[in-house]
């Protein structure tokens, strides 16, 4: 990857000149978290700037009760769970328990790369029930919707979706309303924005006076977005900017939005670390309830959160840095995780562990 080193240096110099003092910026996309760690961006920025990871990793925000319910469903006879690989290592509320472990003990759990693969799996195994574990944000929701419609069209009646899909905006609002919220600007997720449009994040400056820049995923995109955020903060002029114009339009992808609206409706949903947030989840519309795993298997997980030593909830709300968690690298490692942030490929702790920051 041939970076333009001169341009990078110029950006860094500009950031250094503009930064008005200690500031905290939050990225709300796991892909950003990983890209920042992989390129070592934190080691290049002035010490005044702290980059925090927000609730942007879909697996990490899934509440422990839902993981426990997944583990339980995996052992039901005749069921095949189809899941993204990321879910397999996430521990339930009992340390050491995970879908990976259940699979080693005989549960049928298949890794898929796309929701449509799960429909194919259902068509190939007509005597089994295939349940797709649908985690993700607005980025993955349209594809998940397409899979449900495909299942309907092809008569894959043994396919169901367990929708744990979530919406970014309600979560950000909940985060901002938290008592100890202390973020000076948001690096907004380019993937989600490509669906919703940049205007999906206009509420940040408009309603909360918070700077917001939609950013792409190359290291240079991220530096450029940081530079614009720093400038907004220095000028005390919060606004919405779109750094990722090559993929994100103002209005977003209408086709994908329609697809989402055709299949899903908002509902109150639980988030790890944020609790229950109104309208923050997506469930299948009543006319598609034949494909709703929660209906077919009567899945409920509204009980109280089991107390565990896991502090991922604080990590994904930017209140605890991975390295400051007392479990990090000690009791909690990628081999023996206590929480999802350590094992999701987009988790903040996984990023901090795998691409350990040389400043630490």
């Amino acid at each position: 990857m041939p970076w333009d080193k001169k341009r990078t240096q110029a950006l860094l110099a500009k950031i250094g000149e503009t930064v008005p003092g200690k500031i905290r910026l939050m990225e709300v996309c796991g892909t950003h978290t990983m890209a920042i760690a992989r390129a070592g961006i934190k080691t290049m920025l002035p010490d005044e700037i702290r980059l925090l990871s927000g609730p942007g990793c879909p697996v990490c925000v899934t509440p422990p009760q839902a993981i426990d319910a997944c583990l339980e469903l995996s052992t039901q006879s005749g069921v095949i769970l189809a899941s993204y690989g990321d879910m397999l290592r996430v521990p339930g509320s009992r340390a050491g328990d995970s879908l990976l472990r259940r699979r080693a003990l005989g549960a049928r759990i298949e890794t898929v790369y796309s929701p449509v693969d799960a429909v194919e799996l259902a068509l190939k195994n007509p005597e089994r029930q295939v349940v797709f574990l649908g985690v993700g944000f607005e980025t993955t929701a349209p594809g998940t919707a397409a899979a449900v419609l495909t299942a309907k069209e092809k008569g894959a009646h043994n396919f169901t979706l367990w929708s744990m899909l979530k919406r970014v905006e309600p979560a950000l609002r909940a985060l901002i309303r938290m008592e100890d919220f202390a973020v000076d600007g948001f690096l907004c997720p380019g993937h989600v924005a490509s669906i919703l449009g940049a205007e999906g994040f206009a509420f940040l400056p408009a309603e909360y006076g918070l700077p917001a820049v939609v950013a792409g995923f190359e290291p240079e995109d991220i530096l450029c977005a940081v530079s614009r955020l720093v400038k907004q903060i220095a000028e005390k002029h919060p606004r919405l900017e779109n750094e990722y114009t090559r993929a994100v339009s103002q209005k977003g992808n209408r086709l994908a939005q329609n697809m989402m609206e055709r299949c899903f409706e908002p509902r109150g949903d639980r988030w790890r670390g944020l609790g229950t947030i109104a309208d923050s989840g997506l469930k299948l519309r009543p006319e598609l309830e034949d494909f709703d795993a929660e209906k077919r298997f009567q899945i409920r997980y509204d009980g109280a959160e089991t107390k565990t030593p896991c502090r991922c909830g604080e990590v994904i709300t930017g209140r605890l840095r991975p390295e400051d968690c007392p479990l990090f690298g000690k009791r909690c490692t990628p081999e023996d995780p206590v929480g999802p942030c350590m094992v999701s490929s987009e988790g903040a702790c996984a990023a901090a562990w795998k691409y350990a920051d040389m400043r630490e």
Partner: protein, 332 residues
């Protein structure tokens, strides 16, 4: 919760190491085993290197190779990186009931071809058949013996300032197999599966001061480099933009959520050589087919004890860890 064997224990990463260090080495500890290099060095009238490896790759046939070629090259390479000339192999087959004979014949033809090319003979063997469903088509174990020609290779002889070399592009095998398994875009992307005894001999006879050789298979380049320096007063500083990675491998890794530095290689050599000998070593490697893309990718340093540090192409610095668990696909 009762600890059970999961796939992680076979990844070549930290859990594999834990199994070796806490169960196997304590049970059998002896000088030949305890060095934990790719092969054991056996003292006697002739200095022998001895190694074994099992092969369970899925799919059995993949772009650039198959389980038979892999079974020969894997053990040959383990011997070659010990400074030995590989001579004799055993071949043990575990076959699943229902395997088409033509498939077995294809594999055996491939074993024959690979063995001839590597100048080793298959001198003993075994065949077992298990019931349908109790295996996956076929598994192969090979053990090999070679004569040590260049004694003394060891990660303990690494010094500050030494050069870290790789014989070519990184991550080809792991990516090719993952792609073949997922049924996604094949074609140009091939496994690098190859015997490295010619390359090792060329490097070792070049006169360059070679400290240690290793073929970075499971766990990839990142894990092997960590093994070189962990627990020592030395570290390795890598330069990301010097590490050769095929564009197709990079693209496939992006798609699959993998990192080429953690993907298995089956025909690549990592070498640490004295600083002043780097050019001579590179020239010797580049003269062989397997080493034509050889590159200097980093240096040994006293500044980061026990660590492998990556100077990123973008200009940052980060620590490169050993592989944890197996590499899994990403989510969005």
């Amino acid at each position: 919760m009762e600890e059970i064997i999961t796939l992680d224990y076979g990844s070549g990463g930290k859990k594999t190491a834990r199994l070796i260090e806490t169960l196997l080495v304590p049970a059998f500890s002896n000088p030949a085993l305890d060095s934990l290099s790719d092969g054991a060095i056996l003292e006697g009238d002739a200095r022998l290197a001895f190694s074994t490896d099992s092969f369970v790759v899925d799919p059995v046939f993949f772009p650039g190779g198959d389980i038979g070629k892999l079974a020969v090259c894997g053990t040959v390479n383990d011997l070659a990186v010990c400074g030995a000339e590989p001579k004799y192999l055993s071949l043990a087959l575990i076959l699943e009931e229902g395997l088409p004979l033509t498939e077995l014949e294809r594999v055996i033809a491939s074993v024959k071809q690979a063995a001839e090319k590597a100048h080793v003979q298959i001198v003993t063997g075994d065949t077992k058949v298990v019931e349908k469903g109790r295996g996956d088509r076929l598994y192969i174990n090979t053990a090999g013996i070679g004569f040590v020609r260049y004694p003394g290779l060891s990660s303990r002889s690494i010094r500050a300032g030494d050069a870290v070399l790789v014989s070519g592009t990184v991550g080809d095998h792991g990516t090719a197999v993952m792609l073949a398994r997922s049924g996604m875009m094949e074609g140009e992307l091939c496994s690098d599966c190859a015997a490295l005894n010619g390359l090792c001999a060329a490097l070792l006879s070049s006169g360059a001061a070679v400290r240690v050789l290793r073929d970075p298979t499971r766990g990839g380049v990142a894990t092997t480099l960590n093994e070189f320096v962990e627990g020592t007063a030395l570290g390795i500083v890598l330069e990301e933009d010097r590490i050769p990675v095929r564009p197709q491998v990079r693209a496939a890794c992006e798609l699959l959520g993998l990192d080429p530095l953690y993907c298995a290689n089956e025909g690549k050599l990592l070498a640490v050589v004295g600083a002043s000998d780097a050019d001579r070593a590179l020239a010797a490697m580049r003269e062989t087919g397997e080493g034509r893309d050889a590159a200097l990718i980093g240096i040994v340093s006293g500044d980061c004890p026990g660590r492998v540090v990556m100077q990123t192409a973008f200009g940052g610095r980060r620590i490169l860890q050993k592989l944890s668990g197996a590499q899994l696909p990403r989510i969005c």
